[in-house]
Every structure is written in C-alpha cells, then in structure tokens.
C-alpha cells in the first residue's frame, strides 16, 4: 500500500509524485497510457509569468518559475531554457495596456520601445508599437519534463518511494463511508492513504467517479511546427498581446493569437489557438492557416519557412480559468491537481510542491483557497 496514489502521469501528476516522494511519502503513479501521453504531450512547454493576471495564478506561476529553475539545476534533462518572453503590441493603445499590466504584475520586466524591439528580436516585423520583455519566462520540453521528474523522483528519494505503473485504468474508488481509501483499476483495487486526481482534461470524469463535480472541459489548441532551421531565427518566446486576453476569454468560438518560439531542435513552434469543440482531434486547416498568417505577420522571415507538422491537444479549463488544487472536502482522502488549462507545464512544480505540503499536513506556502475544489456552484459548469 502506498501513502499516495497519483492518477495521471502527465507533468502535473509527475510533479505531485516528485514532491510527495521528496516529502517522504511512498507514491504510486498510475496512468492508462504512457508517460505524458495526454495534454502534456501536446503542449509547448511554457513556463510563463508574463501572461498571468495579478492574483493567485501569478503567485503560483512565480513559485513555479523558481521551482523549475531549481529542478533544472538539480536534475535537468528536459531542455530548460530561460530565454525570456517578449510580448509585443501592434498599436500604442495596446502597448499602454501592456505597460500597465506589467506594472500591476510587479515582476521583473523591461518596457521595450518600438525602436528597441529589433535589438531583442532582429527578425520582428516593422510597425509594431513596442513590447514588454519578461526575463523570467522560460521553456521546457514538456514530455521530457514529466518523464524526468518521475525518474529523478524514483532515483532520489529511496528505493520504492516513487513507482510508476502504466497501462492501468482507474475505474472507480474504494470507499470507507465517505472516505476515499484507494482506487479500483483494470488491475484490481489499490489502497492508499490519499488519492491525487492529476488526470488533466479528464479530471472531471475521474472526479465524477468519486461522486464529486469538477467542471473541467477541454479547450482545443493547435500548434504548428516548422522545418528545423540551420540558424535560430527567434530568440525569445514572442507573442502578441491578444494571447493574454484570449487566455482569459470565455468564448467558445475560435480564438487565435501569435505565439512564436524556437526550440533546441531547430524547429519553430507556432501557436496558439483555443476553441471549445469537445475532444475532436480532426485537424482544422483554417485554424492552421490563421496561425501561419499571424506568425508570418510577426516574423516576415518565416514566409518561406515550411511547416512540417501540426498537433493538437486539449487544455483542461475551469470556468474561472484557475486550476483545482487541494483536498476535496466532499470526498475526504481525494485530492485534486488538475484544470491548469494551457499553463499546466508552467504551474506543475508549484502545484506538486503545494499539494505535497497538504498531504504531509503542513501549511502550504501559498493560500490554496482560490483553487479549492468545491468553489464551483452547481450549474456553473458551462
């Protein structure tokens, strides 16, 4: 019997397992598929503070940013790149709003005037009104990040402290009265002192099996990947201000904004789209076309660069765009760490760290009240 069963071997589950094992708990991670096979495997690997509104999510992002840096220094192996983010504005109005937002965020940043943009990004299009540079923004390779966290956890905190079992589907929960005492799986029942729901986009489904509601829905996002370039064209994570407003948007319709960055493999990743279409994986050429148009508008040098593939993923989002982190009072023994929408990679270490504090009965470094699982009124899940 483990102290903790983590359901989901994505980056959030991996971080929960890592920090729980580091805190001295025996952890078993279960996933019906491989490591990082869900939303983690379809992400860009953003570790951003720049796109967060001031408030609890920014606090979480700042903690996470520090923890990613630590993890990269201690174990690494997941292409951590502290390359910084550059948010650009098309018009002076937008630039003004960006500057205001940066001041409210109160994080290290540098306001970049229009004529200073090319010093940071030589290939940027002309005619932009300016931008804000966030040196803390970073990128990781998300699949490797999840896999390496699990590996470091298994190697670092004593033999058997962190076990991963793949191809195991959780079908329900074992109960003792109200209390969740373990999981029912395709491989039989497994008991644990606590169960962590890190099932990402499928977290609502899993919660329902414990009889509790979590209004987590998929929001589809496409990413375009270019041919590997012989020389890096783009140095930072560069995105337009529209990305910030789209992240916080409630629209069900398609929203796109240009998010462009290079990778250590030489490719350029181009996002970002958001739309609510359920779990439909059908590629939408119109969406890819818009992503390409926006990227080319931002970086004209990309015109003749070829896209060689695209992929899509389903970001798990809650109506208030905040993740669900903490113990569920409606089902004692069940904890949640899911619903991070498009920020799961970035927010994973802080989520794992805080949840490990909860699991070991310590006071979490951040107030988890804004992320409490029972904050949604019924009927608010649409």
């Amino acid at each position: 019997m483990s102290d903790v069963i983590v359901v989901g071997a994505g980056v959030v589950g991996a971080a929960c397992a890592y920090y729980a094992a580091r805190a001295g708990l025996d952890v078993t991670v279960l996933d019906r598929g491989p490591v990082a096979g869900g939303t983690t495997g379809a992400g860009e690997g953003n570790v951003l503070v720049s796109d967060k509104e001031p408030g609890p999510e920014l606090e979480l992002a700042l903690l996470s940013s520090r923890l990613w840096r630590e993890l990269a220094a201690t174990g690494g192996g997941f292409e951590y790149e502290p390359k910084g983010g550059l948010v650009v504005a098309e018009t002076p109005d937008v630039q003004e709003r960006l500057v205001e937002l940066a001041a409210e965020q109160d994080v290290p940043h540098e306001v970049v005037p229009a004529d200073g943009l090319r010093a940071l990004e030589p290939e940027l299009a002309g005619g932009l009104a300016g931008g804000v540079h966030y040196p803390q923004d970073a990128q990781v390779q998300p699949m490797l990040a999840a896999a390496r966290l699990l590996r470091h956890g298994a190697d670092s905190f004593g033999r058997g402290a962190l076990k991963v079992r793949l191809g195991v589907t959780v079908t329900g929960f074992t109960r003792s009265g109200d209390r969740v005492t373990g999981v029912r799986t395709s491989e039989g029942d497994m008991l644990a002192g606590a169960v962590v729901n890190a099932a990402g986009t499928w977290g609502g489904e899993l919660a329902a099996r414990a009889g509790v509601t979590l209004p987590i829905l998929p929001r589809r996002g496409f990413i375009l990947v270019t041919e590997p370039l012989p020389r890096p064209l783009i140095r930072h994570k560069v995105y337009t201000a529209a990305y910030v407003t789209n992240v916080a948007s409630d629209s069900a319709g398609l929203e796109t904004s240009a998010v462009v960055e290079g990778t250590p493999a030489g490719t350029v990743l181009i996002g970002a789209s958001r739309e609510r279409v359920g779990f439909d994986r059908t590629t939408s050429l119109p969406v890819l076309s818009r992503l390409a148009a926006q990227a080319v508008a931002l970086f004209p040098a990309l015109r003749e660069v070829r896209a060689i593939r695209s992929y899509c993923g389903f970001r798990p989002y809650c109506p208030d765009h905040l993740p669900v982190i903490g113990a569920d009072p409606r089902a004692p023994g069940l904890h949640h760490a899911c619903g991070h929408e498009g920020a799961g990679i970035g927010l994973a270490p802080a989520t794992g760290h805080l949840l490990a504090q909860v699991l070991t009965g310590r006071r979490p470094d951040l107030d988890l009240w804004p992320f409490r699982p029972d904050r949604f009124r019924s009927g608010e899940d649409r």
Binding site: A36, R148, L254, A265, L285, A293
Partner: protein, 450 residues
C-alpha cells in the same frame, strides 16, 4: 473554380485505371500526381522507352493516353492536404494550387519499408525502390557493384534491372526462405513466369540469389565500401557473417502504404494481414467517409495488378454513385472483376505471409545505430524513451524525437513501432508535405463554424 466530379490523387496503376474508368462513363475527372508524368513507383519511366520494357508498360501507357483525352492530368503536383467542403473536397497542392471535386479517389501508392542496421545511413545505401527509380526514371545505374538485400519478390526485378544495366551484383540476399520455387506463392497465379524470368536472368548473369541471408551492417568512411552479409536462422538471428565489398546497397523489407490523405479526412483504418495499417474499404472500394474511395496499396499492399483492378472497381462504383442515393455494395461492377480482385487479394495475403519481417533484425542493431535518420535518434535513444515511460510509438516519439523530423516518420515509423511496442498506428500527418507558411497563411478557406 471548376468543381470536378472526381479528383484522383496518384497516377500509378490504381489512379489511372480509376480515373479512366470514371472518365469513360462521362464524369469530369482530374488526376493529380507528384511525378513528372503518370506512372507511380511501378511504371516510373523516362521519355525514352525502357530497355527491356517494364512488364505491362504498353498497356499502362495506352491507358494514360486515353485518360489525357478525357480528363485533366496534372503532374508535378504534390498534395499536402485534402479538406472536406460542403459540396465535396479541396485537394491542396504545394505552390498554392487547389483542386475542387465532388468525390475523391485516394490512390497514393506505397513506398519502401527499410529496416535499420549499423551503417544504413551511409551514402551508397539506397532503398530498393530508390535504386529502381534511378534506373527507370533517370537512366542512372545506382552503382558499379551493387548488393541487393531485404525481403520480398520486388528484390528480383531490382537486381535483374541493375545487372542488365551493367552493374556487378555480388548477390541478392532474401532474408526469408525455405519455400523453394515449387511452392512459391508467385506460382499461384500468372506471376510465375515473371518471377521465374527474373531468377533465370539473374542466373544467366551468375548473380547468386541466397535465401535466409541479409545485410546486417554497412561499412565505410564517408560512403559505403562494404556490407556484412549474414546467414540467418528462421527468426533472422545471425548465424554467421562475412564481408562483401560493394559501393551500393539496395535494400527493402516490404512496403508502407501512403495513407496520409485518408487519415486526414477521418477514413477508418484496419491492420492488414501483417499488422500494417491500411484504409478500410467496402466491396465498392469506398472508405468509411462518404465521397471518398481508395484503391491500390493504401487499401493493402498487393502490387500493380490488384491496384489496377481496384482502381477500375472504384471508377465504376464512383460512376454508378453519381447523382443517386448511396450505391449498393458494388453497383455497376461486373462480377468477373470482383472475382479477380478476390483472387489477387488472396495472392497478396499469401505474399505477406511468405515474406514477413522477423524479430531477429533487432539483434542487428547496436546502441549507437541510428533508427530515426532525420533526428538522428539511436537505438539507445528509443530504449531510454521506454525506460522513461514510453509504451508505444507515439510516446517513444515524444520522448526521443524519433519520427519528429523532416520525413515525419515515414522511414522509421515501422522499426520504431517494433522497438517501442504497442503495435503500428495509422500515421497522423495533418500536413502531408512541407508547406511554406506563406502558402498556408494565404489559403482561401471558409472560416470554421463556431
């Protein structure tokens, strides 16, 4: 823009037969092909006639001429995507061209399936189809001293062609064996003469044909200088090995059907007899997506005869379906054609069974043997991905980059799936050919419905 009744993608035996059959029945047809001229991989040819002529070429050339009189034949067009529209399909070609049609026939053929081994990325190592394309398409003999190795009957015409063109062929190494010519599945049909003819041609030129042998390593500094030829047991484990000097190797272990466009459109796939994913089609060659037919290798590797029959069945079915309610199972298709198709498919299944890929090839690899050529992922990289939690080809790709590069896994998907476990999945390539961001950005498309 013209809206055709039928767009055919692929100008090999299946596509040309399908297009011609439909055009002869009055449909407005366009055929789109990536080559300089129709032909596909089998009827690849130059302007000047082949010497000796490829079997069946005259017949194919007549079909192409007939087609050119009745339909639009667009060559040098690489299709990178097909999308569904309200009234049919748009076929998107590189360079910005697009073709609209009410129905679609996918006849995109297949390409070689190589297996990795140490040194297989040295220049001078070619796929068997590559060596054949050089010879038939460009009149270039792939090398002076050419070893041919792999499995399947396709090795025979490749070796015979090279020998006839003046290459020294130290040996043809067939990894399977034990059937003997008397029980050879090629004898089951009218192909017997063809196979026997190639074998006789090889014998005349004193080219050894060795079964249960394979090339298990290639050597050279910057280019191929020699290969290690091994004698194999039934499971392809190496029994003994020797070095054979050569400047060129032509190798292939079967074929990979090109399904990208069908998968883009959501057509269902099924595992073929050997586990290879192929498009599911009904008796009328219809895929599971209304308005989309498929013929030839994408529905299961079976060679040019089966491809042509399937193309004709598809053409007849498409013509019968015009303007009416969904056609019955194979309306308008003569029984004799359906019976021939049944027989050819049985033959194709027998070939797959006679020339399987056996697990022993994994033992040919060393830790540093490149498996994914594009991203230069060695065997050790795939193993590490498995240790990190990959359980199938997709997760192995995500954790190792194998299959993420330029070729999008076309070359390594099969070996990676074998090494990673979890079986072979249908390829998901929403972008089937590299397309410039400018072309992608300037697509004229309806906005998606919210």
């Amino acid at each position: 823009m013209t809206v055709y009744d039928l767009a055919v993608v692929g100008g090999g035996p299946a596509g040309v037969a399908g297009a011609l059959t439909a055009a002869q029945r009055g449909l407005r047809v366009v055929l789109v092909d990536s080559g300089v001229r129709p032909g596909g991989q089998y009827f690849r040819h130059r302007d000047v006639p082949d010497e000796p002529a490829t079997k069946g070429f005259e017949r194919f050339a007549r079909q192409v001429r007939a087609l050119e009189d009745r339909a639009d034949v667009m060559t040098r067009r690489q299709v990178w995507a097909v999308t569904r529209e309200d009234d049919g399909f748009t076929v998107h070609c590189l360079g910005g061209a697009a073709v609209r049609s009410r129905r679609l026939l996918i006849a995109t053929g297949a390409h070689d399936r190589p297996l990795p081994f140490p040194g297989w990325d040295l220049p001078g190592v070619l796929t068997a189809g590559g060596a054949q394309a050089l010879l038939k398409g460009h009149g270039v003999v792939a090398g002076r001293r050419v070893v041919v190795a792999g499995t399947g009957p396709f090795l025979l015409p490749v070796a015979a062609g090279l020998a006839a063109a003046g290459a020294e062929v130290p040996g043809v190494y067939e990894a399977n064996g034990g059937l003997g010519l008397a029980r050879h599945p090629l004898l089951a049909l009218d192909k017997a003469g063809e196979a026997a003819g190639y074998l006789a041609a090889l014998a005349r030129r004193r080219v050894p044909y060795r079964t249960r042998h394979a090339v298990v390593a290639a050597h050279g500094d910057r280019e191929l200088e020699a290969v290690t030829v091994a004698r194999l047991d039934r499971d392809w484990n190496v029994l003994s090995a020797r070095r054979v000097p050569c400047d060129t190797l032509a190798t292939g272990y079967g074929f990979v059907p090109q399904l990208d466009l069908g998968v883009q459109l959501g057509c269902a796939t099924r595992p073929d007899a050997d586990g290879t994913p192929v498009l599911s089609v009904d008796a009328a060659q219809r895929t599971t997506v209304p308005g989309v037919w498929a013929a030839g290798e994408p529905t299961g590797v079976g060679g040019r005869h089966l491809a042509e029959i399937e193309g004709r069945v598809a053409g007849l079915s498409i013509a019968a379906a015009r303007g009416t309610a969904p056609a019955t199972r194979a309306a308008g298709v003569p029984d004799v054609l359906l019976r021939r198709r049944t027989r050819m498919r049985a033959f194709a299944a027998a070939l797959l069974a006679a020339y399987p890929v056996k697990d022993g090839w994994r033992g040919w690899l060393r830790d540093d043997t490149v498996v994914c050529r594009c991203e230069e992922v060695p065997l050790a990289g795939i193993r590490e991905a498995r240790e990190l939690g990959a359980t199938d080809a997709r997760s192995a790709k995500l954790l190792s980059r194998a299959g993420m590069g330029w070729c999008q896994g076309r070359v390594c998907a099969y070996p990676v799936a074998c090494l990673a476990g979890g079986g072979q999945a249908a390829p998901r390539r929403p972008i089937a050919q590299p397309v410039t961001l400018a072309d992608l950005a300037e697509l004229t498309l309806e906005e998606p419905h919210d």
